[in-house]
Amino acid sequence: MREAYGVVLPGMNLADLTGKLIVIEGTDGVGRSTQIDLLVPWLEQQGRAVVDTGLSRSALAGKGIKQAKEGHTLGPLTLSLFYATDFADRLETEIVPALRAGFVVLTDRYIYSLMARAMLRGIDTGWLRNAYSFALKPDVVFYLRIGVDDLIPRVVFSRGFDYWESGMDLHPSEDMYESFRKYQTALLARFDELAQEYRFEVIDASAGVETVFRQLRQGIAGVLSGEPREPLFAVESPKAPAEEPGGRKVVEMPVASKGAVGATEPKKEEKVVS
């Protein structure tokens, strides 16, 4: 039977959720939506009914999150809870009914992206784990992994640097390019940790679209056939995170000038609810 990571929501029956829950994770601009656009028709050609969903698409909170983000005024806890609301709404009204009907649910990001982002903004891992613990364990998480050097040209040639994707709310640097670089590097480190913990299947996203698509198809075919899976790639073990005296993990942003990011002590009080 399908399981949740922690608490089961009231009225949610986990029996008979015969569909498959497939997560595509990865940092901003890595090509997740391109792959999903390819995967949906591919699955449908095989006679599989597909529902695709992604962050901030809920009827309840989706629009609100977008509006609030435009104002750039959300605190990190508020944003985490807003996304949790959006996720719960989609879980209850989209994902679970689709799984019950035997659909393949393809989701563009899941709780892991939300956790990685919030961790960089000083939110406790334990708090995040609890807040998102009602999430269902997916059948598989494909992590499209890319290094920052390969990511930057993609972003430059598609839509340019975005405020949130550059972590500008953390003020890593005045310059959008420098900020993007620092922020995404820190984010990738978090993803690598989560990849180990939650057993992501890692796909090298610096390869071409076709190559990534082929690997995803291979992986998904395995999941759908119900055969036991072998990891596609091993994740390199991430560097052990630094510990603060209080035992809390420090957000290690590779920032040139100290004092710019929430990781530095004197500034922290002003940035996060600590």
Partner: protein, 227 residues
């Protein structure tokens, strides 16, 4: 992230809790007036009032889109916004902050709606522990009598209609509020709530409240602004 009792701020935080019809909002308003007259920098913050989130909650309620989980999470979002942007900065500045409903409202309502008690408590674990939390305890019949006086009918979520306890809103409201009272009573020892007998005359309750608040304000600074 600091937890509940770990926060240290120069300001003071007083909260009122209790079911609808317990008279807590009236009492808080009277306390507010008094503190202002005494020259304290006092600010009032209401449940469900974040400008960013309030409209979404309102729409969700109107369209009956909220499940126990999303009901819980959208209120937690609203609270987090007020905590991060409003309550904590004010407490840092040394203000006296008054809250009409606080985390205990969520603990009562969400748990009655079937959410896991530990999960909800952890969700709000970053909230500042108030200086005093007044719980206005009132028998259900008394609260009902006050509420039926001058209003017609109950709203869907207010009456707990989503729990499908009864098809009749008034009956549903009673059953729902009865369960909320049970949760509040459990929280009295858990969180050391200060119980006020909410059947007493208004001025008697207010005198009790002022006495408690006064004893906590000994070192609080009075924020003076030039007239």
């Amino acid at each position: 992230m600091k937890r509940y009792s770990e926060h240290r701020f120069p300001g003071k935080l007083f909260v009122v809790e209790g079911i609808d019809g317990s008279g807590k909002s009236t009492q808080l308003m009277l306390l507010h007036q008094w503190l202002k007259a005494e020259g304290y920098g006092v600010v009032f913050s209401e449940w469900n009032s974040s400008p960013l989130v309030r409209d979404i909650t309102k729409r969700g309620k109107k369209k009956q889109m909220l499940s126990p989980a999303t009901f819980s999470l959208i209120h937690a979002t609203d609270f987090a916004d007020r905590m991060e942007r409003n309550i904590i900065p004010l407490l840092k500045a040394g203000a006296v902050v008054l809250c009409d409903r606080y985390i205990y409202t969520a603990f009562a309502r969400d748990v009655v709606r079937g959410m896991d008690p530990k999960w909800v408590r952890e969700l709000y674990s970053y909230a500042v522990k108030p200086t005093v939390m007044f719980y206005f305890r009132v028998p259900l019949e008394v609260a009902m009598k006050r509420l039926m006086n001058g209003r017609n009918g109950f709203k869907y979520y207010e009456a707990g209609m989503d729990l499908e306890l009864s098809e009749d809103p008034e009956e549903s409201f009673q059953m729902f509020q009865g369960r909320i009272i049970e949760e509040y009573d459990k929280m009295v020892p858990e969180f050391e709530l200060t119980v006020v007998d909410a059947t007493l005359p208004i001025e008697v309750e207010q005198a009790q409240m002022r006495q408690v608040v006064k004893s906590k304000l000994a070192q609080a600074k009075r924020l003076r602004v030039a007239p």
